[in-house]
Amino acid sequence: MQILACPVCKGELQLNVDKEEGEEIITGSLYCPKCQYSYPIVDTIPNLLPPSEQS
């Protein structure tokens, strides 16, 4: 997980899993403790667009 970083502060992200199938994370989030922002994982795809571009 150290590869992925917060798009804003480039800090480490914490993974939270809501739903997984086998090893695949279906829904969950990647949380940046520094920015206190949670980036969603939807349909297995992490949405790491900066908060200003999140729809």
Binding site: L4, P7, L48, L49, S55
Partner: protein, 228 residues
């Protein structure tokens, strides 16, 4: 503007950020439309089996697929800022995703969601035209490259008298910018890249612009460019 031109305009704009049902069609068709220029562009770059690679503006994910087939011991990441594109790219790369050899995510070139110095190669096929802040976005790409890592911008159009009428029309419809080989060289240099190489296929108007992130960025000022 006539109906044909309106439709063309809609299509070119969709290439920037595919959305909706029409977007899905565009994301899929980009996979086929761009595969020849991708093959040509990638042939100018040396790719090692264990390379960590990032494809920016991955669209339908065909380039990611091609790269993952080459970097068999490494890992290929694809990012795009269109939800439709990442969904199509995930389908295209299902097998590699399951094997942990590919990751697809929503992200922007303006602020890449990766730590510093991680990639051996960053590619952008038919994508740089849409970068919102070219020099700063290239600097951001440089940040995620390892020392000695390579950027390759692969494109089906560059500024040249022979194609100016067509390109200007495309650019107007798609609201994007495009550059001459000399301008490519300059923007890469301004973003801190060295060992810049520009390859062109003049009859097709194709261009691949390559730059390297050197260990010592001070060398930059003494590195005179060649090979064009």
């Amino acid at each position: 503007m006539g109906p044909i031109e309106k439709l063309m305009g809609k299509m070119v704009k969709q290439c920037r950020k595919p959305t909706g049902g029409f977007g899905r069609l565009i994301a899929r068709s980009m996979n086929y439309g761009h595969s020849k220029v991708t093959r040509w562009g990638l042939s100018q770059v040396s790719i090692n089996e264990e390379d960590m690679i990032l494809d920016i503006g991955c669209g339908g994910g065909k380039t990611v697929n091609t790269l993952a087939k080459t970097a068999t011991e490494g890992k290929t990441y694809g990012i795009d800022y269109s939800e439709i594109s990442v969904a199509v790219a995930s389908k295209t790369n299902k097998r590699f995703l399951d094997a942990g050899r590919v990751e697809i995510l929503l992200g922007s070139v303006e602020s890449l969601p990766f730590s510093d110095g991680f990639f051996d190669l960053v590619t952008a096929v038919e994508a740089y035209y849409f970068f919102p802040d070219l020099i700063n976005n290239l600097k951001e790409i440089r940040r995620v490259l390892k020392s000695g890592g390579t950027i390759a911008l692969i494109n089906e159009a560059y500024r040249h008298d022979k194609f100016e009428k067509r390109n200007a029309k495309w650019a107007r419809m798609g609201e994007f910018d495009y550059h001459s080989p000399e301008e490519f060289r300059k923007v890469l240099k301004d973003a801190g890249f060295s060992s810049i190489k520009i390859h062109t296929l003049e009859d097709k108007n194709w261009i691949t612009a390559i730059g390297r992130k050197d260990e010592d960025s001070n060398n930059l000022h003494f590195n005179t460019s060649r090979q064009y």
